[in-house]
């Protein structure tokens, strides 16, 4: 591997004071430390967004409840949605990518370590700015308010006429700035994949994790730029008297929707493909089988990436587009189901004939596969335009995308945490606590989000802070809210398990799961610069080759 010019890592001598440790972390350019910081920030905001959701579920417990007023409720769902997408999903996927992508391709760091640190701090301060809106949005003289325009911030509700004060500006700037962090992270990952693969690591031998993160990075470059442009246009509207989206001066509200969803739909794949990536690493290891149909998995990922930039207006079937557009967007959206289906079948194909070890990472990934089947099928229903005329903007949609993003992404993230925590910390997470976490979370998830489909079919629109008692939605809302308790309990068990493992966990050793990719060939946690000697690989599973010299993978690929 070519020598790369990286800054000298901080030297950690024994007996460092906590300020030195803090200094190490704040000034670090190490991909592993940055990865940990990304994931920890993401988990922190996961708790914040979870509390916001819990408050909303409390308000919706009873018809006509007035525990939380409309203004607060509207802020809660805006903050919850924006936080989950930009401050939970994005940093966690970037964090895992940061930590494991270089390790998996045998690199010593990311291609641009300083850019990497810059990206993290852009994200961090963007997030900080966004949450500062609670204090600062009304200016220094007022009580302050958070944004209340919804996470997709439809025009003209974001115009000066309908959104006074500065809360919308905090939404714009916080997300814009954290978006620059995501863009730099994407450039960094692509640069790393292109230029820092170790000897023998051809594209055809990269772990699926690396392939999928590359596709995600491309999508980030394609999708986040139009969002940034639209946000700048909105700032122009709000401060410089431009009229892009200002309908009162002839602007176009639908233009914002096109811009936003041109970002927003690829964004869904930006979030879920990393989930696929974790599952594609975990399922083979715990089934004790090589991934079924590697080339097809790569091809399916790329097709999802390509198709995902052409489907955005399926979020807009109710805006009154021409018939031709409605038909196009319905058909192309349904087409996404084909490569997604291939992935599901290949994961099941990987499990088929294996000896599946149901440890916690695999439990989460198995639940993910099943939940994602339903998430995909409700996606087909929403793609069916006339059906969508009934379903869009109801709880059915809320159920669908939580099935994707919780049932898909968060489940695989939990799986990934249990799978890679030993590598990061050198300690094993407790299996019993892991199972408690899993079952509590599955039960809570099903109670909350499966019942939401029913509310949608019963005609309950999303984003309403209250509902009349005569609509027969109350009991379903109560079941939904009850699920929150189980999910919260599961998450508490998770954090307890982490704390206990850090304090007194069983040492993990370099390769606790008997896995096959390069990150398990180095110590846990990996040393600075990862590999004492640059590895060389001959197949997709270098550690399998090492463990089974009698039947190495490269004979079959």
């Amino acid at each position: 591997m070519a020598a790369i010019d990286t800054p000298t890592p901080p030297v950690t001598a024994p007996g460092h004071s906590w300020t030195d440790t803090l200094h190490d972390w704040v000034t670090t350019c190490d991909h592993k430390k940055l990865g940990v910081m990304y994931v920890c920030s993401g988990l922190f905001f996961f708790c914040v967004a979870g509390l916001e959701a819990a408050a909303m579920r409390y308000q919706l417990l009873f018809a006509g409840n007035d525990a939380i007023g409309p203004e607060t409720f509207n802020r809660l769902f805006t903050m919850h949605g924006t936080t989950m997408v930009f401050l939970v999903g994005m940093p966690i996927i970037t964090g895992f990518g940061n930590y494991f992508l270089p390790l998996m391709i045998g690199a010593r760091d990311m291609a641009y370590p300083r850019l990497n640190a810059w990206g993290f701090w852009m994200f961090f301060f963007g997030a900080f700015l966004f949450y500062f809106s609670f204090l600062g949005a009304d200016g220094l003289y007022g009580a302050g308010t958070a944004p209340d325009v919804g996470w997709f911030a439809y025009a003209p509700l974001t115009g000066k006429a309908f959104s006074r004060g500065n809360s919308t500006d905090y939404w714009i700037l916080g997300i814009l700035i954290s978006g620059f962090g995501s863009l730099s992270g994407a450039i960094n990952m692509l640069g790393t994949v292109i230029s820092l693969r170790c000897r023998g690591m051809t594209f055809g031998r990269m772990p699926l994790f690396v392939w999928m993160m590359s596709v995600v990075s491309f999508l980030i470059l394609i999708a986040l730029t139009p969002l940034a442009a639209a946000q700048v246009m909105l700032l122009f509207d709000r401060f410089l008297g431009a009229h892009f989206f200002d309908t009162q001066a002839g602007g176009d509200a639908v233009l914002w929707q096109h811009f936003f969803w041109f970002f927003g739909h690829p964004e869904v794949y930006i979030l879920i493909i990393p989930g696929f990536a974790y599952a594609s690493e975990i399922i083979p290891v715990f089934s004790r089988k090589v991934i079924f149909g590697y080339p097809v998995m790569v091809a399916a990922t790329i097709s999802i990436g390509v198709l995902s930039v052409g489907v955005w207006a399926h979020h807009m079937f109710a805006v009154g587009m021409q018939r031709e557009l409605n038909i196009y967007f319905a058909a192309i959206t349904m087409l996404v189901g084909v490569p997604t289906g291939i992935k599901i079948f290949n994961w099941i194909g990987t499990m088929y004939g294996g000896k599946i070890r149901f440890q916690t990472p695999m439990l989460f990934c198995t639940a993910f596969v099943f939940q994602f089947v339903l998430a995909g099928l409700t996606g087909i229903m929403l793609a069916a335009t006339p059906f969508d005329w009934q379903l869009t903007d109801t709880y059915f949609v809320v159920a669908h995308f939580h099935y994707v993003l919780i049932g898909g992404l968060i489940f695989t993230i939990f799986g990934a945490c249990y799978y890679w925590f030993p590598k990061v910390s050198g300690k094993m997470l407790d299996e019993t606590l892991g199972k408690w976490h899993f079952w509590l979370f599955v039960i809570g998830f099903q109670l909350t989000f499966t019942t939401m489909h029913v509310q949608g079919l019963l005609g309950m629109p999303r984003r309403i802070y209250t509902y009349p008692s005569d609509r027969s939605w109350e009991i379903w809302n109560q079941i939904t809210s009850a699920g929150v308790l189980f999910q919260a309990a599961g998450v508490l068990v998770f954090f307890y398990a982490i704390a206990r493992a850090l304090h007194s966990g069983r040492p993990a050793g370099p390769d606790p799961w008997d896995a096959w990719t390069l990150e398990w060939s180095t110590s846990s946690p990996p040393p600075d610069y990862n590999f004492a000697e640059a590895p060389e690989v001959h197949s997709r599973r270098p550690l399998w080759d090492a463990k089974h010299p009698e039947d190495p993978d490269w004979k079959h690929e």
């Binding site: 079924f292 149909g293 319905a330 349904m334 409700t378 335009t385 005609g459 005569d470």
Partner: protein
Amino acid sequence: MPFYRSHRCPEPRARLGGLDAVRVGLVALASPLLFSARALADDAASTFDTGIFSGVSTPAIQIQTYSLGVVAICAAIFVVVVGFGAWTVIRFRRRDEDDDREPPQIYGSNSLELAWTVIPLVIVFILALVTARAIVELQLDKRPAGWLAVTAVGHQWWWEFQYPEYGITTANELHIPVNRPGARRPTFLTLESEDVIHSFWIPRLAGKTDIIPNRTNHLWFEPLQTGLYVGQCSEYCGTQHANMLLRVYVHSPTDFERWVREQQRDAVSDPRVADGRSVFLETACINCHTVRGTVATGQFGPDLTHLMSRQTLGAGVGTLDAKTLRAWVLNPDHLKPGVRMPAMGVEGESLDQLVSYLLSLK
């Protein structure tokens, strides 16, 4: 007989045709998934049912048939995939008696992977064609002759309905005629917004269509049963999005004609409430509200000419009776936080007089 029919009243049928059998089959397949929702909808088959599978109108019925078809296909896929997946997970779990040898490594199978690419492609192709046909048949953008024209204007947070043929303006409660074979009068809505984006949705009549400022959208329905059908704004439109409720009263043709004639009259001018009338006309009420036949010609708020012909106030936030009306006029924000109507500072005797006047606007 086509899978569904566009803007034509279904005619009574004596026996099931071939396609009907298919349809029944599809519904049967879909039913496990929908069981809970439908059972509940049947329980609540009340006036306030908003279930999307309780259609009583073209195109809701057509959408429902189409949707149940989609659900049936998805349910079939779900059962097959989850069934096979569950069997795999159980069958191939690691057992205690297993030795430590690795299972046979299978790298892939071209024929299998081709199969699970092509079969979904075929399903998607068929589904896309059916969808295209449904869209073409249900999405109309011109008003056929003889249809009732209504303009629905979305406001933060109430609905204005104008009947240009009759010169009527009302609010929040839409009145339309029923359709029967041989006596058709479909309603064709022109949707316009006064401020932000709203969405018009009565699940039992039709799917939703957004109301977008600077744009004109259309929506049509042809209800086949008289009665009250409810819904609400379904695009987030600001603080009181939740209390932007909608009611549609479907009348028999004669009842509808009677309703139109009543609405066309100017407001009653009852001498017994003359005091209240002057409170109304001399307060800023008239800046926002119209009472036809008086100097009140405001446009920002609901037309009050025949206020008491409506059942609700504040776009469904309360029942329209003397007590609620009084509380509303005293402080609208108390009933509907964030509402655009300010408290006018009318209190005491003036308030009583004003409420009496409003109650006289039948």
